[in-house]
Subunit: 328 residues, 4 copies
Amino acid sequence: MLRFAIIGAGRIGGVHARAIAAHPQAELALVADPVGDAAARLAAGYGAASTTDVDAVFVSDVDAVVVGSPTPFHVDQIVAAVDAGKAVLAEKPVDLDLARADECVAAVGDRADRVMLGFNRRFDPGFAEMKSRILAGEIGGVEQLTIISRDPSAPPAAYLTGSGGIFRDMTIHDLDMARFLLGDITEVIAVGQNFADDIKEIGDYDGAVLTLRGANGGVATIINSRHCATGYDQRVEAFGPTGSLRAENHTATRVQYFGADVSGASGPYLDFFLQRYTEAYAAEIDHFVTAVEAGVAPSPSLADGREALVLADAATRSAAKGGAPVSV
Amino acid sequence: MLRFAIIGAGRIGGVHARAIAAHPQAELALVADPVGDAAARLAAGYGAASTTDVDAVFVSDVDAVVVGSPTPFHVDQIVAAVDAGKAVLAEKPVDLDLARADECVAAVGDRADRVMLGFNRRFDPGFAEMKSRILAGEIGGVEQLTIISRDPSAPPAAYLTGSGGIFRDMTIHDLDMARFLLGDITEVIAVGQNFADDIKEIGDYDGAVLTLRGANGGVATIINSRHCATGYDQRVEAFGPTGSLRAENHTATRVQYFGADVSGASGPYLDFFLQRYTEAYAAEIDHFVTAVEAGVAPSPSLADGREALVLADAATRSAAKGGAPVSV
Amino acid sequence: MLRFAIIGAGRIGGVHARAIAAHPQAELALVADPVGDAAARLAAGYGAASTTDVDAVFVSDVDAVVVGSPTPFHVDQIVAAVDAGKAVLAEKPVDLDLARADECVAAVGDRADRVMLGFNRRFDPGFAEMKSRILAGEIGGVEQLTIISRDPSAPPAAYLTGSGGIFRDMTIHDLDMARFLLGDITEVIAVGQNFADDIKEIGDYDGAVLTLRGANGGVATIINSRHCATGYDQRVEAFGPTGSLRAENHTATRVQYFGADVSGASGPYLDFFLQRYTEAYAAEIDHFVTAVEAGVAPSPSLADGREALVLADAATRSAAKGGAPVSV
Amino acid sequence: MLRFAIIGAGRIGGVHARAIAAHPQAELALVADPVGDAAARLAAGYGAASTTDVDAVFVSDVDAVVVGSPTPFHVDQIVAAVDAGKAVLAEKPVDLDLARADECVAAVGDRADRVMLGFNRRFDPGFAEMKSRILAGEIGGVEQLTIISRDPSAPPAAYLTGSGGIFRDMTIHDLDMARFLLGDITEVIAVGQNFADDIKEIGDYDGAVLTLRGANGGVATIINSRHCATGYDQRVEAFGPTGSLRAENHTATRVQYFGADVSGASGPYLDFFLQRYTEAYAAEIDHFVTAVEAGVAPSPSLADGREALVLADAATRSAAKGGAPVSV
């Protein structure tokens, strides 16, 4: 039985609490959040203790820490937890600043196999199936990878101001997916789009199209938008010499409507990551628990978190230069 | 080059005229229709001769005759054409009266290999593919066959009055399809439904569900309706011990719409048989021409036409007895 | 918080235990099973007490009892639990013998609103969505209902011997679904099929096709098989005057494969009811808990359980008479 | 009745011959091809005259000329035909050299409304439906356009040597489609890929990914490959603020296979443009005939042909510079 503390009682903290509670080898022991009674409220639902003193986590007897705090706290908390001998599951990104991420990697040093980065989409059953079928050689390798990733609607401008920009906040998941399915990336071309004025005003984009060259000659395309009328648009397509694989969107049910004007009409996509990636979060916790219990390094690693940030930085620079290629 | 005459310049005559004109080894030479200038108008579009004297067909020098006249004329015209040494492609049904169909079979005698019955759906590329994949053993035999067949909307009551009832007029296509894909049928159970008052008043049904026992132990289900809001609903599903095959409906294009309320919405089904079975009519003519030129018997045969009528009769009796099983 | 006892620590008992444990207003307090340590093992996973004395359930302080024992015990246990003042969620069927079911209804009397029958499929999100969209008038009523329901593979002959036959054991779910979506049924026509010799030897069928007349003029078709190569085949299609609704099968993921010979190939269907109806079992418990807490009658009721049995009996008689219509 | 001559009796000449023959207001009068008996053979199938002297076309009495010769002859033949007072349907590209295309535009001058460029895909019923639904405002404008366009297999290296490279030979269709659905393009980023050695040796690519900025802020992505195991991969997806539209690939039938390992498996895509775009070629001829008969300018125009070439040139330069943005 792995005993967990969660730092950060927000939305993502709640997702992890549920996944931990449902896991037969995991137990939620402690929730820490400095703001108001958020920790107490989240802890109550699972019979866990709570605290507003985050440092209490590191002196507690938990085995593992989920770092679900706001991004600026990630590095210090990852390092403190590792120093305290805990296993760590940290939400992405490591930090918005690559230098800070490098400090984190350095501070963790050879204890990196105690830290897992929370790129939940790798654990989506569909994307995980694609990965294993690609590895099994079903399509003969990946020559072209297409990732379409659109949020249902943009977060408030206030949130986006501190988000590091679309590439570090949103695209970073897709950059990790590109690494997951295509392998190492050597060059990034990013084109930003502005449709929403409030997002433009804070110097960010609400749409983006990226082209990534892979070390193996493959190319990945990422198409992002901060809005999608039909819901959370999350698709991946891998094309290889002998076939291709597509992961299609999820709908709430498999019911289709047929009327005078349409046939085969499903409902809209599941609205957002809590619904769309429920299974992925559960599988992520399972992988973490299994790896920690077995004493092997979980994956994705802190280094994977850093690499995705390197790509997001490159995308930010490329977009700023109007789509010029940036080597990484 | 096979030279054709068409008897009957109505809708189905027009379908065959187009298919003949488009076939490289076929030529439309003559159109006969006793009513007004229908023959002249159809013939004009294809540079063919026309006549209001149907008997002129049998003394003409054409090689083949398409019998596309109203049902009561079928038997006499089939026999006259065969007597005149012509090959015959006759529209279904042979007749509404089984005794007359038997007379036709008797009169044609050992010249039956000169006559083909126009069960066009056997030539639909999808249904034909199902047949050949079933024969190839892909699903290990047919245990259960489901045929859904719904017209977009009912013909006028005036037409239906002389139609012989839904089983002889509409279901007959599905009965032939059941024989095509499942084999010989030994028993028919038919349940009629009445939703439209005008059809009920003439003693007919506007919906029906049939269960057919096959000689091999398989069972076919036929679901019919005289109306379907989404268009011409024409589906077949064959279930066997090792797999199943489904032929889905056709839409005008493969475009799908995704909006706030729906995803993957295609357009409605192709509206009716002229659109839905265009390719089938062309393939039917091709089969007929090829068989006649090669001197082999085309299929489906006059006997197949009679068998479908036997089943339609059985269905009519079963429905009249409230769904009692009727052996054939 | 509703405190539960489960009678029967077999497969279905385990399904309910998990759903109860995961429900925020429910708690698993006691598991009873007379056979070996089955109760102890199931209880251990959820911190519940266990007993091999089923009668202990009725004198315990639990609020609700799940009757998941073998069918012959259902009636006595339902009555005992109701007599003890418990709310009851009983697995289907009430009994294999209609007279016994009638005794159960009589014994429960006006306390019937304390008993729910476990027709889990009503709670499948897809079928539930169909029901609510039908009620909302989206298709203008149901004229034809098609239920395809095939198990991945037949249970051992030993199990089937005591099962009451395919109609009482398997079709009963589909008969309830027909009542759920079409309404009252007035007549049953059933045709049995035999492909597997061992099932034939025990006097049962391994395939069946049923036609049900609804009181409203609609007709339902049920197509059953004890085997399906692609997995658990569970589809429903409702056809009405203004449109239709289809609930399609579930696959493990939405990944599709495209190769030299195929396009758009998904994986096989989820294999069986534990996977296919996971959400349904959770929703069923939720409905039961909510109804009991609110003091209202849960649905489906004991009477619904009896009605399904009436239809299964009628189907058994119809099949024995070679498909003759049986009024109910 | 519009009387046609076709210059070039190759594969594309044959496609147009068939479409002209099938059109009620069009007639194939003459086929010209300097090589061997190609013209004679093609003409024979349609009762047309033939010649090995291409200049004979311009002094003939035909109303319209289809320029289906090898690319280097296009400009001279377009100009000669226009000078001779003929309407012209010219295959793409106008020329591989933009300067020559400019000469063509200049020479044709204000007679440009007599010339149509054969971008057949605009007439594909699916893509045409997308265009009209976009114009009707169904998705609120186009923010992101994704065009996936892969050939079944690469032509021989000998053909590719004179093709002008992948962007002028293959991508040019997609560049026109981007203009058709997104509008004017202001910038091109192109990344080439090399998987096939023989294509690399002649300095060409066998894969490419392009990003096009639209004047309206939209971005189009084009993904090309010279090979695709599943057939001719031709998809377009338009994403807008209120919805999106997708045109999916075509298969020969709508039959799906379900077995132990797969569900819903369709056959492979139609293999190549003769099958995939049969309807498009017919609709293209119909548009041309209708426009010429009505005395209005057909579309796409010679200017559209030039614009696509401008984009293909920009793509060629961008790819040569490793994906640097090139303004147009």
